[in-house]
């Protein structure tokens, strides 16, 4: 197979060609309330060809792998049609690699019977509480072996093993519906999902507490966000602006996102790191065959770098960063984040609280949207902070604001640190969900607009 793919890539009449073939199987178990909505396995086999000719890309994806030659020719014709200004993608050395995810326990070695029993146990433990109306328990794993070959002679075979689970409790009283959820998902293996009994207790407690809480009074507050919300903010509100594919053709955003420009206080550091083995966003090699790496996005408060594919790196005269990722053989690689986080700072959480006479402590992400410059996030849990202490719980907390203003308004960064993977993931350009890690410490932001429901 290896030689056949390399030979095909080398033979196509183009400037650059790459092929990915993927073989995989995934497991899904999904409880919604008492009902087992889905349980089963799915097998996926397919491939794609991507070529660059005279400045135009062509891309074809297929399940009928035996017809690869036909689809390769289609990709070439499409590239010719796109055309444009001829360019070279940023150079990387040709290399040949095999990577297999090291896991504590391979989910493939656990039977469907055992996985179901585990999910059932979690679901029962949530539903046994009288005031919990419903639950969600989801388990997912996937094994995918991708063979990558390029016309430059690079050949990579990587086997990625992902597993994760999510548990959620839903408490209802009249029109007041409160949810709490906890998720674990990464490339470390199956063991972590077997240890979620406490998380089940936790989501029940949190959902019930939120039910009792009073709705927040809309206004402008000093807000301390927990590591999860910090991570989501860093990823969704800021990280997407660091993706060079969107930047390099958008002169205004390019101006806003100029390297060297101040974005926040001296102690603000934001990083994307695809080389963190085991984390949800670990990328041994991206979908262009480039090894995942560490990129400082904001260093000492100043914009320091951005995320690249080989194309955007060449066009912006920077180095590829290993961030060209495709969610599967059905899609071409686009610039994506990996593990994106705020680096820990110098203020212990306790001190941060003590220094906050009046404010809101927002915990865990429930949902939200961004519109390049504006963001809207709902917190799953929130508390008032009064006289430097966490006081009563409040609900329906929605944080909104302008990304750049909000970064400037960060005035304390915690010493703690936590990465969150989970089952969700990032969506962009019709490719969702992409496994990513988000994280950070606790941090405090001044003047956040909080809307109630």
């Amino acid at each position: 197979m290896k030689n056949k793919l390399l030979e095909l890539c080398a033979r196509l009449p183009v400037d650059y060609a790459e092929v990915r073939l993927q073989d995989g199987v995934s497991t899904n178990i999904h409880y919604a309330g008492r009902e087992l909505e889905d349980i089963g396995e799915r097998i996926e086999r397919g491939g794609c060809v991507r070529v660059l000719k005279d400045g135009g890309w062509g891309f074809a994806t297929f399940n009928d792998v035996d017809d690869i030659e036909k689809y390769a020719r289609m990709a070439v014709r499409q590239a010719e049609l796109v055309g444009g200004q001829k360019f070279d993608i940023a150079p990387v050395d040709a290399h040949q690699q095999v990577y297999r995810t090291p896991v504590d326990t391979d989910p493939a070695d656990v039977s469907l019977v055992d996985k179901q029993a585990m999910c059932h146990r979690y679901n029962q433990s949530i539903l046994k509480h009288e005031r919990i109306q419903s639950s969600v328990v989801v388990y997912r794993d996937s094994h995918a072996t991708t063979r990558f070959a390029s016309s430059e002679g690079t050949y990579i075979e990587q086997e990625i093993i992902f597993s994760g689970a999510m548990v959620a409790a839903i408490a209802v009283e009249g029109a007041n519906v409160q949810r709490a959820r906890e998720a674990k998902g990464d490339l470390r293996g199956f063991e972590k999902v077997t240890r979620m009994d406490e998380d089940c207790e936790d989501v029940v407690r949190r959902a019930l507490e939120s039910l009792e809480a009073e709705p927040v009074e809309a206004g402008t507050y000093t807000v301390i966000v927990d590591p999860e919300l910090c991570g989501v903010f860093v990823h969704e509100a800021f990280g997407h602006l660091s993706e060079a594919d969107f930047l390099y053709e958008n002169p205004r955003m390019r101006e806003i996102m100029q390297l060297g420009k101040r974005f926040g206080p001296d102690f603000l550091n934001i990083t994307d790191d695809g080389s963190l083995e085991g984390e949800a966003g670990f990328v041994p090699f991206d979908s262009e065959g480039v090894a995942g790496g560490r990129t400082a996005l904001i260093k000492d408060g100043v914009l320091a770098g951005r995320l690249h594919s080989r194309e955007t790196a060449a066009k912006m005269d920077e180095r590829p960063t290993g961030n060209a990722r495709a969610i599967s053989y059905r899609h071409p690689p686009i610039v994506r984040m990996t593990n994106t986080f705020m680096e820990p700072g110098e203020t212990p959480f306790e001190q941060m609280l003590q220094e906050t006479p009046d404010g809101i402590y927002a915990v865990s992400w429930l949902g939200g949207q961004t519109n390049k410059e504006m963001f809207t996030f709902s917190a799953e849990e929130a508390y008032r902070i009064r006289d430097g202490e966490v006081a009563e719980k409040i609900r329906d907390v929605v944080l909104t604001g302008n990304v750049f203003q909000t970064l400037q308004n960060i005035d304390r960064i915690g010493t703690d640190f936590h990465m969150v993977g989970g089952l969700g993931g990032c969506g962009k350009g019709g490719q969702s969900p992409l496994r990513v890690g988000d994280g950070g410490p606790h941090c405090r932001i001044q003047n956040v607009v909080i809307g109630g429901r």
Binding site: D23, A32, G33, E35, L36, D38, I39, G40, E41, R42, I43, E44, R45, G46, W57, G58, F59, A60, T61, F62, N63, D64, D67, Y71, M74, A75, R77, Q78, A79, L81, V82, G83, G84, L112, V113, Q116, S134, A175, V177, T220, E249, N250, R252, M253, R330, P332, G367, G368, Q369, N371, K372, E373, M374, T376, S378, T400, G401, V449, G451, R453
Partner: protein
């Protein structure tokens, strides 16, 4: 599509299970994408896959594959899944006495070349450039051919083909006071040869949005255009889902034949409209697809159900079981048709002393949908005074309960538009509160 695969899978399955059903689909899509005012990409996507649903010892199992080399593995996986599956509350349908005729496939679609779609996009791009050099133009054109087949151990073996062409046009302007995005979309089963009408509409709206009209926290009448109506419809459509009705999480549970919406609102689910995007002769489980009123003069008439859901609810299957090869069937609508009223769009605007026309929104889905609540940022909305558009509103939110809003409307438009698989007029509602987004 190879006939043998589906049959091999079914044969292997029927040796092991009481009943089995194979859903096979194959399709090819060609798409052309213009972004940031240039032709960015052309893509071909071929896909073929098989889903197997079985009933073993009364329980449902499911598995799917795109690896057609090992049918036996699929059968084993479906069996493993059936061990925990829900109790089957339905029987697989046999061959229907009559298959309704509805046009879903236009042979001319295959002749639409990537070159032609590139030309269409270029024409739109030129229009956008002429209107304003600073606009960023995006356009996504696709043409698709699709074939699907469902066969089961009750004797059903039904295949049909469908074609689809879709186009979206987006005009974006990056301004000092923020982003302006205007979006238009069309999808149909027959080819069309231009996006100039979509582009023209988008450019007109972008021009109208040049001025920003000041707003404050206030209640005012609002017109939901067919495009924005989805925000109001989505919570109701979700509540019509028989699965949620069965679970007790739908507010429409137990309300069949009750007055739910304004008596002037009649909404029908209609899969029999030739060439419409949601049309089909049979649903994906082999149930004959029929026109069905959802709300007749505001009175709730039916839920949407697939076979299993209908069994659980104790009703006849409604023909709303839809799926892809990799998923189990689940209830979903076909074409949603809202009956028109008698007020023209201009009359609506003229009748507003001070009001809002909502074009599109950002952030739907964050609120408690099952309770009928919605809360959206107005991504594009026009303030109207005395029938005149004053400009767009900025940083505004609209929130409310759809059952209250559609329980009593001010006016229903006389002209309908297709948006996706919805055919609807604009609807004007009273007294909604506009809130500043901060």
């Amino acid at each position: 599509m190879s006939d043998r695969i589906a049959e091999q899978v079914l044969q292997a399955a029927c040796r092991r299970f009481d009943a089995a059903e194979v859903f096979e689909e194959a399709g090819e899509t060609v798409s052309v994408r213009f972004e940031d005012s240039r032709l960015k990409e052309i893509r071909t996507q071929q896909r073929r896959g098989v889903g197997l649903r079985v009933i073993g010892e009364g329980r449902i199992g499911f598995a799917s594959t795109t690896d057609l080399r090992e049918p036996q593995r699929l059968v084993e996986q479906a069996g493993a899944s059936a061990a925990f599956g829900d109790e089957a509350r339905f029987e697989m349908p046999g061959r229907p006495a009559e298959v309704p005729h509805v046009a879903t496939c236009d042979g001319a679609m295959e002749d639409v070349s990537a070159e032609q779609m590139v030309e269409m996009g270029r024409e739109g791009l030129e229009m956008s450039r002429r209107a304003n050099e600073d606009y960023l133009f995006a356009c996504h054109l696709t043409r698709a051919a699709h074939r699907q087949r469902v066969l089961n151990t009750a004797g059903l073996d039904f295949a049909y083909e469908s074609s689809r062409m879709s186009a979206s046009v987006e005009v974006e302007e990056v301004r000092d006071d923020g982003l302006l995005q205007v979006y238009e979309y069309r999808t149909w089963s027959r080819p069309f040869d231009s996006v100039s009408d979509l582009t023209r509409t988008a450019l007109e709206k972008a021009r109208d949005a040049a001025a920003v009209a000041p707003t404050r926290l206030e209640a005012m009448p609002m017109v939901f255009t067919p495009k924005a109506l989805g925000n109001l419809w989505y919570p109701i459509e979700t509540a019509l889902n028989g699965k949620l009705v069965h679970k007790g999480s739908s507010v429409l549970r137990g309300r069949i034949d009750e007055q739910v919406l304004d008596p002037r609102i009649t909404i029908t689910d209609n899969p029999t409209i030739d060439w419409a995007p949601g049309s089909c002769p049979l649903d994906d489980e082999g149930v004959v697809a029929r026109r069905r009123p959802l709300f007749e003069a505001g009175v709730l008439r039916t839920y949407l159900a697939d076979l299993q859901t209908a069994g659980l609810l104790g009703i006849d299957p409604t023909g709303h079981g839809f799926r892809s090869y990799s998923s189990r069937p689940s209830p979903s609508s076909t074409n949603t048709v809202v009956e028109p009223g008698d007020t023209s769009f201009d009359e609506m605007l003229a009748g507003m002393k001070r009001g809002l026309v909502i074009e599109h929104t950002l952030g739907s889905g964050q609120s408690n949908i099952l309770a009928g609540e919605f809360s959206v940022n107005v991504a594009l909305g026009f303030l109207v005074e005395g029938g005149e558009v004053q400009g767009r509103v900025k940083d505004c939110m609209v929130a409310g309960n759809v059952y209250e809003i559609l329980g009593q409307v001010e006016a229903i438009g006389s002209e309908r538009q297709w948006f996706g698989s919805t055919w609807a007029p604009p609807i004007m509602v009273g007294g909604l509160k506009l809130a500043a987004r901060g």
